[in-house]
């Protein structure tokens, strides 16, 4: 294992100011941004007018709740740059979300926005061990996707050396790691595992590589996956969060304690709301993250519903940063199933089946409502070595799946065992849920 000489360095003094002081700054900035979007972006004027709310109605941070929400569909309807709040000649960069179908959702940055963004990335990079003298391999895609360029300028800001490997060509990634001996790897968590796996296949022990730290984001991952990455690559793996609609990576990120992601509250106000009632949840309870940007010039955003579900931790962090922290994202509110009034996420079912030996990591959830009650069927595949000619063994395997799902979700589900390779494999986004309920 590499030794981790952690000095708790803080990049930006703004990270440690008193929360009360930060709130004063937040309110000032909120008033300004609300006034600006109202006067420069027709979409916001219309949506404010629809709720009969005016910029002058915002006199406290709680007044934020008077404002209308913004959803992804609004961004699509205003394609390509309908929500931009500055004249075209003030823009410096366009990015976009990786929409799986149709047109991408585009966002824009001014030079000052790019400066802000780089600074926010620098905050979590430094919090997670990045130093000027480090070599950093960035294996995120460079393009419309915010991951590559966002982290690139963050690393540059800190003054470290960048290897812009971009994504793909894993053999070359490994070659670069072997020859340039970077200290830090930046990519999606699943790609980090992919690199480790491929290294092993070619006879290279990933633990012996030079990497010491990893900053991972861009997709949902679990604490188990973190352990796996840390063990396999012999690194300390940090989580960071962001989305292009808000700014990209840098919205929040972990410090060396790996205990929740510090939210950059001097640039964004985060609300955590019950996705059904849109009322704030209690602290520590899971809710949908809703962001309002405070400092962005080109693409300010008001109460953006991310659909990401996480919880907020308000307790002080021993690292000295005074910002609230958010948990890792555990699911998306649009993936959430409500079964007999209980919220269930496909990710919970996945977690359960991964813990039962003999079951392959493929599943399909089908929901029906034959009478008045919801029924949930979870179809799973048996792994070849676990098939038996004995009914008792097959039933006990099924019962183990059933009990594990019950343990994690609290639900009694029906589990169907399937022979290996029965469920359709998808190359893109896997379809894991079929809801047959007709609910109008």
């Amino acid at each position: 294992m590499n030794s981790l000489p952690f000095e708790n360095r803080i990049w930006d003094p703004a990270e440690t100011i008193k929360p009360e002081e930060r709130q004063i700054i937040q309110l000032e900035l909120l008033k300004k941004v609300v006034e600006r979007v109202y006067n420069t972006v027709p979409f916001y004027k219309t949506s404010f007018d629809n709720l009969k709310v005016k910029p002058e109605d915002i006199n406290s941070l709680d007044d934020l709740r008077k404002l209308p929400f913004t959803v992804k569909e609004n961004l699509r309807q205003n394609y390509p740059l309908g929500l931009v709040a500055v004249p075209k000649d003030g823009l410096a960069r366009i990015h976009g979300s990786s929409g799986t179908t149709g047109k991408p959702v585009l966002v824009a940055y001014t030079h000052k926005d790019l400066e802000t963004w780089a600074n926010l990335c620098a905050r979590f990079l430094v919090a997670g061990g990045l130093r000027k003298e480090h070599f950093v391999q960035i294996s995120f895609g460079y393009g419309l996707f915010t991951g590559g360029f966002g982290l690139h300028y963050g690393v540059e800001k800190v003054g470290a050396t960048i290897i812009p490997a971009a994504s793909g060509n894993t053999a070359r990634q490994i070659l670069l790691i072997q020859d340039l001996k970077p200290d830090v790897l930046i990519c999606t968590p699943s790609y980090a595992l992919n690199i480790a796996e491929q290294a092993k296949q070619t006879g290279i022990e990933p633990k012996d590589l030079s990497l010491k730290y990893g900053h991972f984001g861009g997709e949902m991952w679990t604490e188990d996956m973190r352990k796996e990455i840390e063990e396999q690559l012999g690194i300390k793996a940090f989580n960071n969060y962001g989305l292009s609609e808000v700014i990209g990576p840098g919205v929040s990120g972990e410090c060396y304690l790996q205990n929740g992601m510090h939210i950059q509250e001097d640039h964004f106000i985060l609300e955590c709301l019950n996705p059904s009632t849109l009322e704030p949840v209690k602290e520590g309870e899971y809710g949908e993250l809703v962001f309002t940007s405070l400092t962005k010039e080109a693409f300010p955003i008001i109460r953006y519903r991310t659909r990401d579900l996480a919880y907020i931790d308000d307790s002080p962090c021993p690292c000295g940063r005074t910002t609230k922290r958010m948990s890792r994202v555990k699911g998306r509110s649009d993936d959430m199933l409500i079964i007999r009034g209980v919220n269930v996420f496909p990710s919970q079912i996945e977690e359960a089946i991964l813990q039962v030996s003999g079951i392959a990591p493929h599943y399909l959830i089908e929901v029906t409502r034959p009478g008045v009650l919801d029924e949930i069927f979870v179809k799973v595949e048996i792994q070849p070595g676990y098939i038996s000619d004995k009914m008792s063994e097959m039933q006990s395997l099924r019962d183990r799946v059933l009990r594990k799902i019950n343990e994690i979700t609290g639900l009694h589900v029906n589990v169907e065992l399937l022979p290996p390779n029965t469920l359709e494999r998808s190359t893109g986004k896997a379809c894991r849920v079929i809801d047959h309920r007709k609910i109008s």
């Binding site: 098939i387 038996s388 000619d389 022979p419 290996p420 029965t422």
Partner: protein, 146 residues
């Protein structure tokens, strides 16, 4: 003394059981007997086939997962009390029967009971010591082909 049994795990859906049967037919493989254990969602198909190696090979080539287990085949009088006598021996020995099924040959007055034991060797010993005819595969298929 043990007989090789082929088993497969099938989804309980129309057409699922005919797929392996069609594959065996296309390869000119005869099924001596079979048993199907099923639940609402899945079934376990168990087959007794003389050329089980070839059956396994052709089924696996078509993507089936095939298990081979050893079962015990005993010959009994095809008349009232024939089975009860065998079961009594097994019971007295404290042996557990995982499952069983029976069939008769085309000729003769004997039936064959196929047993799946956790401890087949103990069971064979116990049965033989009480004069029960336990068939090995040569005897079984000889009788079947008469």
């Amino acid at each position: 003394m043990k007989i090789q049994q082929i088993s497969m795990f099938l989804e309980n859906k129309p057409g699922r059981i005919s797929e392996p049967c069609k594959i065996l037919a296309a390869n000119n493989i005869n099924i001596l007997t079979l048993s199907l254990a099923d639940t609402q969602q899945f079934g376990i198909l168990r087959l007794i086939i003389q050329d089980w190696q070839k059956a396994k090979e052709v089924l696996e080539r078509e993507g089936f997962i095939v298990n081979i287990t050893e079962v015990v085949a005993t010959e009994v009088e095809d008349k009232p009390g024939g089975l009860a006598k065998i079961l009594e021996i097994i019971e007295k020995e404290g042996l557990n029967i995982e499952y069983m099924y029976a069939f008769t040959f085309r000729s003769g007055d004997k039936a064959v009971i196929v047993f799946r034991f956790d401890q087949p060797d103990l069971a064979i010993k116990a049965l033989q010591s009480k004069g029960i005819n336990v068939l090995d595969s040569v005897q079984l298929y000889d009788k079947a082909n008469q």
